[in-house]
Protein backbone atom coordinates (compact mmCIF):
# COMPACT_ATOMS: atom_id res chain seq x y z
CA UNK A 1 0.00 0.00 0.00
CA UNK A 2 1.43 3.29 -1.00
CA UNK A 3 0.93 5.24 2.18
CA UNK A 4 2.70 8.31 0.81
CA UNK A 5 -0.49 8.83 -1.10
CA UNK A 6 -2.79 9.04 1.88
CA UNK A 7 -1.77 12.40 3.26
CA UNK A 8 -5.22 13.13 4.75
CA UNK A 9 -5.56 9.86 6.66
CA UNK A 10 -3.90 10.98 9.86
CA UNK A 11 -5.76 9.24 12.66
CA UNK A 12 -3.05 8.05 15.04
CA UNK A 13 -0.13 9.48 13.07
CA UNK A 14 2.55 10.53 15.52
CA UNK A 15 4.56 13.71 15.61
CA UNK A 16 1.86 16.37 15.79
CA UNK A 17 2.01 18.68 18.78
CA UNK A 18 -0.50 20.50 20.93
CA UNK A 19 -3.97 21.19 19.60
CA UNK A 20 -4.18 24.92 18.68
CA UNK A 21 -7.15 25.47 20.99
CA UNK A 22 -8.85 28.87 21.20
CA UNK A 23 -12.11 28.59 23.13
CA UNK A 24 -13.74 31.66 21.55
CA UNK A 25 -12.26 31.98 18.14
CA UNK A 26 -13.82 33.64 15.10
CA UNK A 27 -15.12 31.35 12.42
CA UNK A 28 -13.13 33.04 9.70
CA UNK A 29 -9.77 34.51 10.66
CA UNK A 30 -9.25 36.33 7.40
CA UNK A 31 -11.49 37.71 4.70
CA UNK A 32 -9.90 35.51 2.06
CA UNK A 33 -11.08 32.44 3.96
CA UNK A 34 -14.62 33.68 3.69
CA UNK A 35 -14.15 34.07 -0.04
CA UNK A 36 -12.83 30.55 -0.41
CA UNK A 37 -15.80 29.26 1.53
CA UNK A 38 -18.13 31.18 -0.74
CA UNK A 39 -16.42 30.17 -3.97
CA UNK A 40 -16.58 26.55 -2.97
CA UNK A 41 -20.24 26.11 -3.72
CA UNK A 42 -19.96 27.68 -7.13
CA UNK A 43 -16.84 25.73 -8.09
CA UNK A 44 -18.26 22.45 -6.87
CA UNK A 45 -21.42 22.83 -8.89
CA UNK A 46 -19.24 23.04 -12.00
CA UNK A 47 -16.82 20.31 -11.06
CA UNK A 48 -16.98 17.74 -8.26
CA UNK A 49 -20.69 17.04 -7.95
CA UNK A 50 -20.59 13.48 -6.71
CA UNK A 51 -20.25 12.39 -3.06
CA UNK A 52 -16.60 11.97 -2.19
CA UNK A 53 -15.22 13.62 -5.30
CA UNK A 54 -14.21 16.84 -3.56
CA UNK A 55 -12.75 14.92 -0.64
CA UNK A 56 -10.76 12.83 -3.10
CA UNK A 57 -9.36 16.01 -4.64
CA UNK A 58 -8.24 17.15 -1.17
CA UNK A 59 -6.70 13.73 -0.54
CA UNK A 60 -4.63 13.91 -3.72
CA UNK A 61 -2.90 17.11 -2.74
CA UNK A 62 0.78 16.85 -2.00
CA UNK A 63 1.62 16.95 1.72
CA UNK A 64 2.99 20.47 1.42
CA UNK A 65 -0.29 21.68 -0.04
CA UNK A 66 -2.48 19.66 2.32
CA UNK A 67 -0.72 20.86 5.42
CA UNK A 68 0.08 24.28 4.07
CA UNK A 69 0.26 27.20 6.41
CA UNK A 70 -3.04 28.52 5.14
CA UNK A 71 -4.77 25.68 6.98
CA UNK A 72 -8.20 24.29 6.28
CA UNK A 73 -9.39 26.94 3.84
CA UNK A 74 -5.98 26.95 2.21
CA UNK A 75 -6.36 23.32 1.27
CA UNK A 76 -9.90 23.92 0.05
CA UNK A 77 -8.50 26.62 -2.21
CA UNK A 78 -5.78 24.27 -3.46
CA UNK A 79 -8.35 21.53 -4.17
CA UNK A 80 -10.50 24.01 -6.09
CA UNK A 81 -7.55 25.01 -8.26
CA UNK A 82 -6.94 21.34 -8.99
CA UNK A 83 -10.56 20.73 -9.93
CA UNK A 84 -10.77 23.83 -12.12
CA UNK A 85 -7.74 22.54 -14.00
CA UNK A 86 -8.96 18.94 -14.25
CA UNK A 87 -12.38 19.97 -15.46
CA UNK A 88 -10.90 22.20 -18.11
CA UNK A 89 -12.09 25.51 -16.69
CA UNK A 90 -8.80 27.13 -15.77
CA UNK A 91 -5.55 25.37 -16.68
CA UNK A 92 -2.92 25.34 -13.97
CA UNK A 93 -0.38 27.18 -16.12
CA UNK A 94 -3.01 29.72 -16.98
CA UNK A 95 -3.71 30.24 -13.29
CA UNK A 96 -0.03 30.70 -12.50
CA UNK A 97 0.18 33.24 -15.34
CA UNK A 98 -2.90 35.07 -14.10
CA UNK A 99 -1.37 35.32 -10.66
CA UNK A 100 1.93 36.50 -12.09
CA UNK A 101 3.90 33.66 -10.56
CA UNK A 102 6.32 31.26 -12.13
CA UNK A 103 4.69 28.37 -13.91
CA UNK A 104 4.76 25.30 -11.74
CA UNK A 105 3.91 27.20 -8.56
CA UNK A 106 0.31 26.13 -7.98
CA UNK A 107 -0.79 22.90 -6.24
CA UNK A 108 -2.10 21.55 -9.54
CA UNK A 109 1.51 20.77 -10.47
CA UNK A 110 2.04 18.56 -7.44
CA UNK A 111 -1.29 16.85 -7.12
CA UNK A 112 -1.66 13.11 -7.62
CA UNK A 113 -3.95 12.28 -10.51
CA UNK A 114 -7.42 10.90 -10.01
CA UNK A 115 -6.88 7.27 -9.12
CA UNK A 116 -7.87 4.58 -11.55
CA UNK A 117 -10.31 2.41 -9.68
CA UNK A 118 -11.04 -1.11 -10.82
CA UNK A 119 -14.75 -1.78 -10.41
CA UNK A 120 -13.84 -5.39 -9.63
CA UNK A 121 -12.54 -4.11 -6.31
CA UNK A 122 -15.92 -2.62 -5.47
CA UNK A 123 -19.04 -4.42 -4.26
CA UNK A 124 -21.83 -4.87 -6.80
CA UNK A 125 -24.32 -2.10 -7.41
CA UNK A 126 -27.94 -2.56 -6.45
CA UNK A 127 -31.17 -0.80 -7.18
CA UNK A 128 -32.79 1.18 -4.41
CA UNK A 129 -35.87 3.39 -4.29
CA UNK A 130 -35.06 6.91 -5.42
CA UNK A 131 -35.21 9.29 -2.44
CA UNK A 132 -37.53 12.27 -2.71
CA UNK A 133 -34.89 14.74 -1.52
CA UNK A 134 -31.16 15.03 -1.90
CA UNK A 135 -29.50 12.56 0.44
CA UNK A 136 -26.75 9.97 0.47
CA UNK A 137 -28.97 7.58 2.42
CA UNK A 138 -30.57 4.66 0.65
CA UNK A 139 -33.07 1.99 1.64
CA UNK A 140 -31.71 -1.53 1.21
CA UNK A 141 -33.93 -4.58 0.99
CA UNK A 142 -31.32 -6.92 2.41
CA UNK A 143 -30.39 -6.61 6.06
CA UNK A 144 -26.77 -6.09 7.00
CA UNK A 145 -24.55 -9.16 7.12
CA UNK A 146 -23.47 -8.05 10.55
CA UNK A 147 -25.10 -7.83 13.95
CA UNK A 148 -24.29 -5.98 17.14
CA UNK A 149 -21.70 -8.00 18.99
CA UNK A 150 -19.98 -9.47 15.91
CA UNK A 151 -16.19 -9.44 15.88
CA UNK A 152 -15.10 -7.97 12.56
CA UNK A 153 -11.98 -6.90 10.75
CA UNK A 154 -11.76 -4.13 8.17
CA UNK A 155 -9.70 -5.26 5.25
CA UNK A 156 -10.59 -2.76 2.52
CA UNK A 157 -8.73 -3.02 -0.73
CA UNK A 158 -5.28 -1.91 -1.86
CA UNK A 159 -6.48 0.44 -4.51
CA UNK A 160 -5.59 4.10 -4.50
CA UNK A 161 -9.11 5.36 -4.88
CA UNK A 162 -11.11 7.39 -2.41
CA UNK A 163 -12.16 5.48 0.68
CA UNK A 164 -13.55 6.14 4.13
CA UNK A 165 -11.59 3.36 5.79
CA UNK A 166 -9.04 5.00 8.08
CA UNK A 167 -5.72 3.23 7.92
CA UNK A 168 -5.34 3.00 11.69
CA UNK A 169 -8.10 0.39 12.01
CA UNK A 170 -7.20 -1.75 9.05
CA UNK A 171 -6.66 -5.41 9.92
CA UNK A 172 -7.43 -4.94 13.62
CA UNK A 173 -10.35 -6.82 15.18
CA UNK A 174 -13.20 -4.75 16.55
CA UNK A 175 -16.75 -5.27 17.78
CA UNK A 176 -19.91 -4.12 16.06
CA UNK A 177 -21.80 -1.78 18.41
CA UNK A 178 -24.46 -0.29 16.17
CA UNK A 179 -25.86 -0.30 12.66
CA UNK A 180 -26.43 3.07 10.97
CA UNK A 181 -28.62 3.80 7.92
CA UNK A 182 -27.27 2.63 4.59
CA UNK A 183 -25.55 5.13 2.31
CA UNK A 184 -24.10 5.33 -1.18
CA UNK A 185 -20.52 4.12 -1.20
CA UNK A 186 -18.09 7.06 -1.50
CA UNK A 187 -15.35 4.73 -2.81
CA UNK A 188 -17.57 4.31 -5.85
CA UNK A 189 -19.40 7.63 -6.22
CA UNK A 190 -16.20 9.65 -6.02
CA UNK A 191 -15.08 7.83 -9.16
CA UNK A 192 -18.40 7.90 -10.97
CA UNK A 193 -18.79 4.14 -10.74
CA UNK A 194 -22.34 4.06 -9.46
CA UNK A 195 -23.92 4.17 -6.02
CA UNK A 196 -23.21 0.63 -4.73
CA UNK A 197 -25.03 1.44 -1.45
CA UNK A 198 -23.83 -0.20 1.76
CA UNK A 199 -25.03 -0.62 5.28
CA UNK A 200 -22.92 1.44 7.65
CA UNK A 201 -21.55 -0.42 10.64
CA UNK A 202 -20.22 1.24 13.78
CA UNK A 203 -17.24 -0.76 15.05
CA UNK A 204 -15.60 -0.26 18.45
CA UNK A 205 -11.87 -0.77 18.88
CA UNK A 206 -9.93 -0.94 22.13
CA UNK A 207 -7.06 1.51 22.20
CA UNK A 208 -4.66 -1.23 23.25
CA UNK A 209 -5.55 -3.26 20.17
CA UNK A 210 -4.86 -0.26 17.97
CA UNK A 211 -1.81 1.26 19.63
CA UNK A 212 -0.25 -1.48 21.78
CA UNK A 213 -0.03 -2.18 25.47
CA UNK A 214 1.24 1.30 26.31
CA UNK A 215 -1.95 2.89 25.08
CA UNK A 216 -4.17 4.79 27.51
CA UNK A 217 -6.44 2.67 29.70
CA UNK A 218 -10.16 2.48 29.15
CA UNK A 219 -10.25 4.10 25.75
CA UNK A 220 -12.54 2.88 22.99
CA UNK A 221 -12.44 4.26 19.45
CA UNK A 222 -15.67 3.92 17.46
CA UNK A 223 -15.46 4.12 13.69
CA UNK A 224 -18.23 4.05 11.10
CA UNK A 225 -17.38 1.61 8.32
CA UNK A 226 -19.13 0.72 5.10
CA UNK A 227 -20.10 -2.91 5.15
CA UNK A 228 -17.96 -3.90 2.17
CA UNK A 229 -14.81 -2.99 4.12
CA UNK A 230 -15.58 -5.68 6.70
CA UNK A 231 -15.27 -9.39 7.19
CA UNK A 232 -16.04 -11.56 10.19
CA UNK A 233 -12.92 -12.20 12.23
CA UNK A 234 -13.67 -15.90 12.16
CA UNK A 235 -13.69 -15.91 8.37
CA UNK A 236 -10.19 -14.55 8.20
CA UNK A 237 -8.35 -16.58 10.82
Amino acid sequence: MNSAHRVHDIGGVEGWGAVPYEPDEEVFHYDWERRVFGLMFQVLSETAKRPGEFRHALERLSPEDYFCSDGYYGRWRAAMEVLLDEYGHVAKDELDDLLGVERGTGPGHRVAGVAEVDPQNLPPDRLTPKPNHRTVRRELEEASQFEVGDRVIAVGNNGMGHTRLPEYVRNIPGTVVKLHPAEVLPDSTAHNLGERPQHVVCVAYRAKDLWGQDAEEDVVINVDLYENYLAMETELS
Binding site: D24, V27, R34
Partner: protein, 112 residues
Amino acid sequence: MSGVEILDGSLAAPPRTNGELLFEAPWQSRAFGVAADLVESDCFSWSEFRGSLIDAIQTWENLETHNQPPWDYYTCWVAALEQLVFRKVLLKPAEVDLRSREYVDRPHGHDH
Protein backbone atom coordinates in the same frame (compact mmCIF):
# COMPACT_ATOMS: atom_id res chain seq x y z
CA MET B 1 -34.83 26.32 10.23
CA SER B 2 -35.32 29.62 8.52
CA GLY B 3 -33.26 29.32 5.38
CA VAL B 4 -30.77 31.98 6.46
CA GLU B 5 -28.09 29.33 6.71
CA ILE B 6 -27.98 29.57 2.93
CA LEU B 7 -25.85 32.64 3.50
CA ASP B 8 -23.26 30.58 5.35
CA GLY B 9 -22.72 28.51 2.26
CA SER B 10 -21.46 31.46 0.23
CA LEU B 11 -19.26 34.49 -0.16
CA ALA B 12 -22.02 36.32 1.66
CA ALA B 13 -21.59 34.55 5.02
CA PRO B 14 -22.10 36.83 8.02
CA PRO B 15 -19.36 37.20 10.64
CA ARG B 16 -19.68 34.79 13.53
CA THR B 17 -17.93 34.09 16.76
CA ASN B 18 -18.08 30.68 18.33
CA GLY B 19 -20.65 29.87 15.64
CA GLU B 20 -22.98 32.73 16.65
CA LEU B 21 -23.72 35.88 14.67
CA LEU B 22 -21.47 38.78 15.51
CA PHE B 23 -22.90 42.30 15.48
CA GLU B 24 -20.52 45.09 16.38
CA ALA B 25 -23.11 47.83 16.50
CA PRO B 26 -26.89 47.98 16.96
CA TRP B 27 -27.52 49.18 13.41
CA GLN B 28 -26.02 45.94 12.11
CA SER B 29 -28.50 43.82 13.99
CA ARG B 30 -31.31 46.11 12.84
CA ALA B 31 -30.20 45.68 9.22
CA PHE B 32 -30.20 41.94 9.76
CA GLY B 33 -33.62 41.98 11.40
CA VAL B 34 -35.20 44.12 8.68
CA ALA B 35 -33.96 41.75 5.99
CA ALA B 36 -35.20 38.77 7.97
CA ASP B 37 -38.64 40.28 8.45
CA LEU B 38 -38.96 41.03 4.76
CA VAL B 39 -38.10 37.41 4.05
CA GLU B 40 -40.67 36.21 6.56
CA SER B 41 -43.26 38.39 4.84
CA ASP B 42 -42.28 36.82 1.51
CA CYS B 43 -41.07 40.06 -0.04
CA PHE B 44 -38.01 38.18 -1.19
CA SER B 45 -36.15 34.99 -0.36
CA TRP B 46 -32.83 34.50 1.39
CA SER B 47 -31.58 33.14 -1.90
CA GLU B 48 -32.37 36.42 -3.64
CA PHE B 49 -30.85 38.34 -0.80
CA ARG B 50 -27.70 36.29 -1.06
CA GLY B 51 -27.45 37.15 -4.76
CA SER B 52 -27.85 40.84 -4.01
CA LEU B 53 -25.25 40.65 -1.25
CA ILE B 54 -22.74 38.86 -3.44
CA ASP B 55 -23.22 41.61 -6.04
CA ALA B 56 -22.66 44.28 -3.41
CA ILE B 57 -19.50 42.56 -2.19
CA GLN B 58 -18.19 42.26 -5.73
CA THR B 59 -18.96 45.91 -6.36
CA TRP B 60 -16.81 46.78 -3.35
CA GLU B 61 -14.05 44.48 -4.57
CA ASN B 62 -14.03 46.15 -7.97
CA LEU B 63 -13.52 49.63 -6.56
CA GLU B 64 -10.12 51.09 -7.24
CA THR B 65 -7.88 50.94 -4.21
CA HIS B 66 -7.78 54.68 -3.62
CA ASN B 67 -11.58 54.82 -3.70
CA GLN B 68 -12.22 51.69 -1.78
CA PRO B 69 -13.44 52.08 1.80
CA PRO B 70 -12.26 49.52 4.35
CA TRP B 71 -14.08 46.21 4.24
CA ASP B 72 -17.25 46.16 6.30
CA TYR B 73 -19.63 43.30 5.90
CA TYR B 74 -22.75 45.06 7.12
CA THR B 75 -22.11 48.08 4.94
CA CYS B 76 -22.44 45.68 2.01
CA TRP B 77 -25.49 44.14 3.67
CA VAL B 78 -27.27 47.49 3.78
CA ALA B 79 -26.36 48.23 0.16
CA ALA B 80 -27.75 44.84 -0.83
CA LEU B 81 -30.89 45.37 1.20
CA GLU B 82 -31.52 48.74 -0.40
CA GLN B 83 -30.98 47.40 -3.90
CA LEU B 84 -33.43 44.62 -3.31
CA VAL B 85 -35.99 46.87 -1.65
CA PHE B 86 -35.81 49.23 -4.66
CA ARG B 87 -35.92 46.39 -7.15
CA LYS B 88 -39.03 45.01 -5.51
CA VAL B 89 -40.48 48.53 -5.46
CA LEU B 90 -41.08 48.48 -1.74
CA LEU B 91 -39.51 51.89 -1.39
CA LYS B 92 -38.13 54.48 -3.77
CA PRO B 93 -34.50 55.62 -3.66
CA ALA B 94 -35.61 59.25 -3.30
CA GLU B 95 -37.62 58.47 -0.15
CA VAL B 96 -34.68 56.84 1.54
CA ASP B 97 -32.32 59.66 0.51
CA LEU B 98 -34.72 62.22 1.89
CA ARG B 99 -35.29 60.43 5.17
CA SER B 100 -31.57 59.84 5.68
CA ARG B 101 -30.87 63.55 5.16
CA GLU B 102 -33.61 64.44 7.61
CA TYR B 103 -32.10 62.22 10.27
CA VAL B 104 -28.72 63.77 9.80
CA ASP B 105 -30.17 67.26 9.94
CA ARG B 106 -32.17 66.65 13.10
CA PRO B 107 -31.57 69.37 15.66
CA HIS B 108 -29.18 68.74 18.49
CA GLY B 109 -30.86 67.00 21.41
CA HIS B 110 -33.31 65.03 19.30
CA ASP B 111 -34.45 62.21 21.51
CA HIS B 112 -34.60 59.09 19.41
